[in-house]
């Protein structure tokens, strides 16, 4: 694809376990992220969004996981890196922030020590230099009284402050790619918006490329240039944030946007719902995984593999019925 691609995932398949109990968490994901772009992966629990993200850093336990396909990040072939090359890669090229900073940070070291350790490991500089850099990072992520906070332990900080500290840690070795796994889900509303705006600002000033996983469409709209919607381990629709929000073409994306409670609804008016529940990843149906819940589904949708249909520049949907999905469902039946 594009010359500028910093992340290229091709036909990624991730299977946990084996035999009849094998969970097919990711089933053929291809995704391209350009330099300086923010892409949000959205979907419900079990859609494979976090598994895809973690594959980029090869965080899955190698014994229980089988990964197929190819992943290239900034020129590195992630799936074939040796373990020492992988350690160099993590943090220096690509780093990650997690949902729960209290679990991700080490409770027995001060946050400053954790950042300094990381800088010394990758940059090989003196402790004093690393300390100076850590201080600058804390200022960059807007932690008040940064000198004092560097000596603090994770439990001594508030939730929003901890998330800022984790962002500082992730940026410690000047990575080109930042991965964010539900970074604001555990935060309160007034703190969530601060962190979202911080990520947006850092992306701009540092020219980062960000992959942002969330189930919250609102959070995705605040930071993302592009949105990829995942369902049952596949990207079912991908496009520019405006296109996805205003003219979604995959029936799942449409239903997801319509089922949200939002301000313009009248009280008491019933919400549009998606019938049923997401499929069991150990027993995926043949054909389109969304077909059993889809209002537009026809018999043809229940067999074969569904290809990505291009719907214009950088917009695509994995659906056989894209010729009618721009119409409301009632009209599509007549058509």
């Amino acid at each position: 694809m594009s010359q500028d691609a910093i992340i290229e995932i091709k036909d990624l398949e991730v299977v946990f376990g084996s035999g009849s109990a094998a969970v097919r968490a990711v089933n053929g994901v291809s995704l391209c992220v350009e330099r300086g772009q923010t892409v949000a992966l959205i979907g419900e629990s079990g859609s494979g969004k976090s598994v895809t993200l973690r594959s980029l850093l090869r965080l899955h336990a190698p014994k229980r996981t089988s990964i197929k396909g190819s992943i290239r990040v900034a020129g590195h072939d992630v799936l074939s890196l040796s373990s020492s090359a992988l350690s160099d890669f993590r943090g220096e090229v690509c780093s990650m922030i997690f949902q729960e900073p209290l679990l991700a940070l080490d409770p027995v070291y001060s946050v400053g020590d954790q950042i300094i350790e990381s800088i010394q490991r990758h940059k090989g500089c003196s402790r004093a230099e690393a300390n100076k850099k850590a201080l600058a990072l804390f200022e960059r992520v807007k932690i008040p009284s940064p000198e004092r906070r560097l000596a603090a332990y994770p439990h001594e900080m508030s939730g929003g402050m901890r998330q800022r500290a984790m962002i500082a840690l992730a940026l410690a070795c000047d990575p080109q790619v930042l991965l964010a796994d539900e970074p604001t889900t555990a935060l309160d509303a007034t703190v969530q918006i601060q962190i979202l705006l911080l990520l947006r600002e850092l992306q701009k000033t540092l020219g980062l490329s960000i992959v942002f996983v969330t189930h919250d469409i609102g959070a995705a709209v605040e930071v993302a240039d592009r949105i990829a919607v995942m369902y049952a381990g596949q990207i079912v629709e991908e496009g520019d944030v405006r296109t996805i929000m205003r003219a979604p073409r995959h029936p799942y994306t449409k239903a997801l946007l319509q089922s949200r409670a939002h301000g313009s609804l009248d009280r008491g008016q019933r919400l549009a719902t998606i019938p049923g529940a997401p499929p069991d990843l150990a027993k995926l149906p043949p054909g389109c995984a969304f077909a059993p819940r889809c209002a537009y589904a026809q018999d043809a949708c229940r067999e074969g593999t569904i290809a990505l249909v291009s719907l214009g520049e950088s917009h695509g949907a994995r659906c056989r019925r894209t010729d009618v999905t721009h119409l409301p469902h009632t009209e599509s039946v007549e058509a």
Partner: protein, 339 residues
């Protein structure tokens, strides 16, 4: 407020959790809920919003008497809860609760049918009738009894389990149901199904809801009135339309403006407030929000605001809206002129 007696009247509700003294730390208290007053009218849905640690869940637990209040009383239909007029057991028949975690709130060793039928049997319904009621309720919440009655909680999905919890809450034919983050753990597509179910049940059984959530979109959708809490106190209370159109309290306004924009061309430009909510162990003096408030003046750190009515249905606890307070940016006269 109209002259009608409220169904539920909460007066001066307070809960201070004692802290254990540890080396270097004097013993203190967490002021989880501090002098909270509100009433709930028959048939309405009151939404309670606020950030973690604001006391919304503690308020719900105090209402249910799952924990005992430090001070204050709850009055149900004119009778003091826990008094001779209204013993606790009778009150619990009238008020039921649905919790956030659908799994830990069901007994893993009882079938869902037995879980639902348990409450009525405690209240003297025969086993046969209780099981019949359980099966009726299962079909009311959209779970076919023939398929689901004999299942155990681990055999159900999150959405199905939450339906069972709702059925169980309804088994005693309560008047009030307290929903504490009842849809927060569900996926969006399942959340919409459960919200629709709650609307249907409310109508079918003439229920009154107390809906606690941190999801402002959902609260806006389901509530008739909204109460905003901050650090254990009520800061604003108004009809949903009024509060979402123009919240008066600076905190309520900031909280509502923190909702992510759904329009890619109208993204939020600056965070409405900075910092995290302070610790409720030593809440700030005076107005508890003054440490983060852009309108704070010196008077705000010394004087605690009272919940003041600014019109028939809108109450706010901010010194700018209180008469005879020397706040340089008082809004009292502005409101008078408008009225």
């Amino acid at each position: 407020m109209s002259a009608a007696t409220p169904l539920l009247d909460v007066r001066g509700l307070t809960k201070h959790f004692p802290l254990k003294a540890s080396p270097g730390n004097k013993s203190g208290v967490v002021r989880a809920v501090d002098d909270v007053n509100f009433s709930v009218m028959r048939g309405e849905t009151l939404g309670i919003v606020g950030e973690s640690g604001c006391g919304k869940s503690t308020t719900a637990r105090l209402l249910m008497h799952l924990i005992n209040p430090t001070a204050g009383e709850v009055i149900f239909e004119g009778k003091v809860v826990g008094s001779r007029d209204l013993p606790m057991k009778e009150f619990h028949r009238q008020v039921q609760m649905v919790f956030q975690d659908s799994y830990s709130s069901l007994n893993p060793r009882l079938t869902v049918e037995a879980s639902i039928a348990f409450g009525p049997q405690v209240h003297g319904v025969s086993e046969k009738d209780a099981v019949k009621r359980a099966r009726d309720l299962l079909s009311r919440v959209g779970l076919e009894p023939a398929r689901f009655a004999g299942r155990y909680p681990h055999e159900l999905s999150g959405g199905q389990r939450q339906r069972v919890n709702i059925a169980r809450a309804l088994a005693l034919e309560p008047r009030v149901v307290i929903l504490d983050e009842a849809v927060s753990a569900l996926d969006k597509s399942v959340e919409a199904q459960v919200l629709n179910l709650l609307l249907d049940l409310k109508q079918a059984f003439n229920l009154t809801y107390l809906f606690i959530s941190h999801d402002l979109n959902v609260v806006r959708y389901i509530s008739d009135r909204v109460m905003v809490m901050y650090l254990g106190q009520v800061v604003e209370m108004a009809s949903t339309d009024a509060i979402f159109a123009s919240a008066k309290h600076p905190y309520a306004d900031a909280l509502l403006s923190s909702m992510p924009s759904m329009d890619p061309d109208q993204r939020t430009e600056a965070p409405p407030i900075s910092g995290d909510p302070p610790n409720p162990i030593n809440p700030p003096s005076g107005c508890r929000f003054h440490t983060r408030c852009t309108f704070a003046e010196s008077v705000c750190s010394s004087r605690a605001p009272q919940l003041t009515s600014i019109d028939d249905t809108h109450r706010v606890a901010c010194l700018m809206y209180e008469a005879n307070v020397a706040h340089p940016r008082s809004r009292v006269n502005v409101l008078k002129v408008a009225a």
